[in-house]
């Protein structure tokens, strides 16, 4: 009967299907990183995790390998061709046409045509292999240092060595399962130089447009391999990485070296943006916690707000307004350079993951329920 049903729809393809049916050597589904994203009209209405502008185009990424772009400020969308169907988490462009998207299974995707077609540059298996290699190198280096180090420093080094072994074991165990861990954000300076950050301290750098990657995790102080959730460059040129357990890492030399900043907050930070003023950093995360620094993170001030909702991302409009978005439909607006924020909640209470300012004070939000075009307070237009 299955055959009959299929034949009805498939017409000429019937013969082939009938054969497939008689010999039910059923093949399992291909892995999600080998399954191209299904073309669908539903992408703009389903979970989107990040959105960015490149030229006149807005590009957004989301679940099931969805990458969609709009050339009319979000009114209509086209789905890009994507070779994977994992949940994508972050997107950034190094130039108007060259962009990168990251997501689960450690995938890095690359486009050279401003988002229309994408190719897979890196997956979680390769990323994990690199991480294992560099942990092994680190272990070798530390073991050597322990031999040479004075007795007083030895115990610290041994602690570090333990942590490294622990991390190595975890990486190997994960690799046995497959590409288990997601990348969570991406930032590119230009067509060649960029970083991706991710779960359990994943941190990789490329200087050749993603052709090759270098494990950059050893360059930051994150011995317990906490998640790294966000990366951005603030006005003035400093790079900032934030993550779990209040991590804030700042680089003032274009990413060659990072310094860990003391954070007044121990919880997770999910995102970081500049405010448009030189050396100002606004980091934010769990339960509406918002950290503001005007000196590249040497000192911090918590910005009080009663939103109580986790904040995911933010954007600065041309007129300097700062909008932060978060779970529970939170849309926070500052018109005074992050001194104070006014809280609004969307009536649908859907989580908002990213915001792109569009014409006037209007916003394009993406998140749990897909794309929403709203006013400055996050209230739906139309």
């Amino acid at each position: 009967m299955a055959n009959r049903l299929m034949c009805k729809t498939m017409g000429v393809a019937c013969l082939g299907l009938a054969m497939a049916w008689s010999a039910p050597a059923a093949f399992a589904l291909a892995d999600v990183i080998e399954t191209p994203a299904r073309p669908t009209d539903l992408a703009p209405e389903n979970l989107l995790n990040d959105a960015t502008r490149t030229g006149d185009r807005i590009v957004a990424v989301g679940e099931r390998g969805h990458i969609i772009y709009s050339d009319d400020e979000g009114k209509t969308w086209v789905q890009g061709e994507v070779p994977v169907s994992v949940t994508l988490t972050g997107i950034d462009f190094g130039s108007e046409t060259h962009g990168w998207a990251v997501g689960h299974s450690g995938v890095v995707l690359h486009t050279e045509d401003a988002g229309a077609t994408w190719s897979l540059q890196l997956d979680g298996i390769r990323a994990a292999e690199m991480a294992i290699e560099s942990r092994e190198d680190q272990i070798a280096a530390i073991e050597k240092r322990i031999e040479e180090a004075p007795e007083s420093e030895k115990s610290d080094l041994e602690w570090a060595l333990d942590d490294l072994y622990f991390a190595l074991e975890n990486l190997r165990a994960d690799l046995d399962v497959g590409p288990v861990n997601p990348l969570l954000d991406v930032w590119f300076e230009n067509d060649s130089h960029g970083f991706v950050v991710g779960a359990y301290g994943m941190f990789l750098r490329t200087t050749d447009g993603g052709e090759t990657w270098v494990d950059w995790a050893p360059r930051i102080e994150n011995r317990q391999n906490f998640h790294l959730n966000g990366i951005t460059r603030v006005t003035g040129g400093a790079l900032v990485v934030v993550g779990e357990a209040g991590q804030i890492h700042v680089s003032v030399d274009g990413g060659e070296t990072f310094q860990r900043r003391e954070s007044p907050y121990e919880g997770s930070l999910f995102g970081v943006i500049g405010t448009g003023q030189v050396n100002e950093i606004l980091a934010f995360g769990l339960r509406g916690n918002m950290l503001f620094s005007t000196d590249l993170g040497k000192s911090w001030r918590m910005i009080p707000n009663s939103a109580g909702a986790t904040l995911n991302n933010g954007a600065v409009a041309e007129d300097g307004r700062i909008t932060l978005v978060g779970n529970g439909g939170a849309v926070l607006l500052s018109t005074d350079g992050a001194e104070t924020f006014r809280e609004n909640f969307r009536s649908d209470r859907d989580g908002v993951m990213s915001v792109v300012p569009i014409s006037g004070t209007d916003l394009l939000l993406v998140g749990e329920g897909g794309v929403k075009i709203t006013d400055a307070r996050g209230k739906n237009l139309q």
Binding site: M1, A2, L5, M6, K8, T9, L17, A20, W21, P24, A26, F27, A28, L29, V32, T35, R38, T40, D41, L42, L47, N49, E63, R64, V86, T87, T89, G90, H104, S105, D174, V177, G178, P179, V180, P182, L184, N229, E266, G267, S268, F270, L286, R287, T310, N312, N327, G328, R349, G351, M353, G367, E368
Partner: protein, 794 residues
């Protein structure tokens, strides 16, 4: 030219020399036979009274269809998935955040808790402790019941309640989108776990009405209660069956009045009614002895049996009156009536019975039951009509007023019959045929839109404006939910139902389906896993994905709803919510699933169709659409064969069957136009319409043939036919129509549909026989050859 044998009403097929054997057998043992009938009636009547209603779900579905086989095989694993009631408590003014509303809701929750049949551990409302809000904090989760601690109905605690509701993730599920109603969700036990007794749907539904709806709507005038769920629907259906008793009474009274108007004889009225009722008792008693109960379908059969009994009884009363008018005594009149009628009568009744029996080939038990019930009924009608009825009349006789009525009335009507005999006129017949062809064309055109399955929104068994369907519409409009659910079962080896590959495959299927027109949304363990994985990662949507790490998957589904995973983790369902239950929707969705299943089923996970109401409907539709043509072929084949055996002429068969075909086509066109689909209820109507409809043609043709063989020209022969049987035939159509027309008022929608369609088919078949048959005869019959052949046979 006149043949004396024929004048006595003897049929040329019987041996011309002797009285028919059957006639001698019956009339020589009149008293004995009557006594035997009395005994049989007492015995079966006693059983008939004790017959029980039986609305078994299983009998209404095609048990042999692979979907249903799969569903029943895994019924225990899916048990509590579909059986629940949802009670929406609506605040007419204002919203739910008032002290009065919350107090009433609390009392209702308590009341439902104590209803028999409710699985108390699964009961959910704002007032139960399993409805919680949760929030991610730096330390992990924090949460609590939606009803705040120390709730006292104050403005402050109502405000805290409002905040908790917003955080609870239950808006759209337990709380309506507009905050004007909330739901009390009560899962039910199929069998009481303590006593093992099956849930009494009728009683449960009554309790919901009395203890919940009536009581609390009276107590708090600002609330309105809406109740939906399978149990409530079945309860309402059972209640609906009760109204049948009224219909039975009305039908009997109307028929009796009509019969008296027709015969003007007390005996000629009461005896057919009496014998037809006896046929009904004999039928019901036999059914009970065979182990059947009365379901919403077979409860209609007694009406048919009664109507068929009356309509054939009329023929006998008519024939006796005609004979008595010639001066024969009542026994001779009865004999002659019997002799004239037993062949066409038996033929007509046997084709009725065969028409019903073709339904046995449809693999749905209620339809088979219907076939059996109707077949038995007609078998008894043969006995009660041709034997009991004739014998009683042979004792009582027709009153003089009845005879006079036949004579007078007959003469008065002659002019009318004369006019109608022009249907056989060579000038009129082509016009009739042309009209018939146009009608056929129109019918074929409109019947293109004929759909399989139920077409109305909500519960199709009940009327669109029934209380249940209004409640259902309210809940669909105010909550994110659909009443049409297709369940795809995913079967895995034991303890393997949560493996990454299984979830991944379910997720792929779901996405395929969500991209299929007609699918609203879907839910499976994969969604739960993604959602909880996200929650475990501090509520960060970037983690909304099925983890490849089995430890994380296991953690993510630890709190999964019971219905999504069976006890030994070998079966997990994908629930697909559909926009409606139109046949196209179901077909498209089922096709996609079949494609996906055949491409992606492995040892690790096999995708099986189907459970859920939509799964059952999809299977039923398939059975019905494949059975429909088979059944039509069979019923027409059987009817044609019987006619051929009797009249030994293809031309005769065509004269009788073509009008039926026109009625069938027009009937389907009417179904298409009035939005009635082909379904369990209406499929039998087609067979019944043909099987019973053929009676008219048989009675008319047998007379027509008789007069033609006497050498009369066609129009004259038809005039004589109408004179002798036209009135009885027309009366038959009206009685049959009357027998079913009351169903139109049934609260059960499919009964109403059946009544409406049968009413049309019975009446229109009568019109077809009287109007179209003679026109066809004009073109098809060769009276000269018929005469020559009849002579040669002697």
């Amino acid at each position: 030219m006149s043949n004396p044998k024929h004048d006595k009403g003897e049929h040329y097929l019987t041996t011309p020399k002797a009285e028919p054997f059957l006639e001698r057998l019956i009339f020589n043992n009149r008293a004995l036979i009557l006594i035997a009938f009395a005994v049989l009636t007492l015995f079966l009547g006693y059983n008939a009274i004790k017959i029980q209603p039986d609305a078994s779900f299983e009998r209404m579905i095609p048990l042999e269809h692979p979907y249903i086989v799969n569903m029943l095989e895994h019924r225990d694993d899916l048990e509590n998935l579909g059986n629940f009631v949802r009670i929406a408590v609506e605040a007419k003014e204002g919203d739910i955040f008032t002290q009065e509303y919350m107090e009433t809701l609390k009392q209702i929750t308590d009341e439902v808790f104590y209803l028999d049949g409710v699985d108390r551990s699964g009961l959910k409302s704002l007032w139960t402790s399993n409805v919680r809000w949760v929030e991610v904090t730096e330390q992990g989760f924090q949460g609590g019941t939606v009803i705040p601690d120390n709730y006292d109905g104050s403005r402050d605690s109502l405000e805290r309640l409002r905040q908790n509701v917003l955080r609870s993730n239950e808006v759209g599920r337990l709380i309506s989108d507009n905050f004007r109603s909330t739901i009390v969700y009560a899962p039910l036990y199929e069998k009481n776990p303590e006593t093992g007794e099956a849930l009494d749907y009728g009683e449960f539904s009554r309790q919901l009405e009395e203890k919940i709806r009536e009581k609390y709507e009276a107590q708090n005038p600002n609330i309105k209660i809406h109740i939906v769920g399978f149990a409530k629907k079945v309860g309402d259906l059972i209640e609906g069956i009760g109204s049948i008793a009224w219909f039975a009474g009305i039908t009997i009274v109307l028929t009796t009045l009509l019969l008296f108007w027709y015969s003007r004889s007390i005996a000629g009225t009461l005896v057919p009614v009496f014998t037809s009722i006896i046929a009904v008792f004999l039928q019901l008693g036999t059914l009970r002895l065979m182990g059947y109960g009365l379901d919403p379908y077979s409860v209609l059969v007694p009406f048919l049996v009664f109507a068929i009994g009356i309509s054939h009884g009329v023929q006998i009363v008519n024939a006796m009156a005609v004979e008595a008018a010639k001066g024969f005594d009542s026994v001779t009149a009865a004999r002659l009536a019997f002799r004239a009628l037993y062949i066409p009568g038996m033929l007509a009744l046997i084709s009725d019975a065969f028409g019903f029996l073709t339904l046995i080939f449809i693999e749905i038990d209620v339809i088979r039951d219907l076939a059996v019930a109707a077949g038995i009924g007609v078998a008894f009608v043969i006995l009660t009509n041709l034997v009991l009825h004739v014998l009683i009349m042979s004792y009582i006789g027709i009153s003089q007023s009845g005879i006079r009525h036949v004579q007078n009335h007959g003469e008065k009507q002659d002019r009318k019959w004369r006019v109608m005999s022009y249907f056989a006129h060579p000038g009129v017949a082509p016009i009739s045929l042309l009209i018939a062809v146009i009608g056929l064309g129109l019918g074929l055109y409109y019947k293109q839109n004929l759909k399989i399955g139920d077409l109305d929104r909500g519960a199709p068994e009940l009327r669109a404006d029934s209380r249940y369907n209004k409640d259902n519409a309210y809940i669909i409009d105010n909550y994110s939910t659909s009443a049409d659910v297709l369940v795809v079962m995913v079967k895995t080896p034991k303890e393997q139902c949560t493996q990454y590959n299984v979830l991944r495959a379910m997720d792929a299927l779901q996405w395929e389906l969500q991209n299929t027109p007609g699918v609203q949304s879907s839910v499976s363990l994969a969604d739960v896993s993604k959602m909880v994985t996200k929650a475990l990662n501090e509520g960060n949507w970037k983690w909304y994905e099925i983890s490849r790490n089995q430890t994380i998957i296991n953690a993510s589904i630890r709190e999964a709803p019971a219905g999504l995973i069976n006890t030994d983790c070998s079966l997990t369902p994908v629930l697909v919510f559909l926009e409606d239950h139109k046949a196209e929707t179901l077909e498209t969705v089922v096709e996609r699933v079949e494609e996906f299943a055949s491409a992606n089923s492995t040892e690790e996970h096999r995708f099986l169709l189907a459970a859920g109401n939509s799964g059952v409907e999809a299977a039923t539709n398939e059975v019905i659409s494949s059975a429909k043509d088979k059944m039509l072929l069979l019923v027409y084949g059987v009817v044609s064969l019987l006619c051929f055996v009797t009249f030994r002429s293809i031309r005769a068969v065509l004269c009788i069957v073509i009008p039926l075909g026109l009625t069938s086509v027009l009937g389907e066109a009417i179904m298409a136009v009035s939005g009635i689909g082909i379904k369990v209820a209406t499929l039998p109507v087609i067979a019944l319409g043909v099987g019973i409809g053929v009676d008219y043609g048989i009675y008319i043709y047998s007379k027509l043939e008789k007069y033609l063989l006497e050498g009369k020209p066609l129009q004259e022969a038809y005039y004589e036919t109408l004179r002798s049987t036209g009135k009885a035939v027309m009366f038959t159509g009206v009685t049959l129509g009357l027998g079913v027309v009351t169903w139109i008022f049934s609260p059960i929608k499919f009964q109403a549909d059946m009544g409406f369609l049968l009413f049309f088919m019975f009446l229109w078949n009568m019109v077809g026989a009287i109007w179209l048959l003679p026109a066809l005869a004009r073109f098809l019959l060769r009276p000269d050859q018929m005469l020559a052949k009849a002579r040669a046979a002697k």
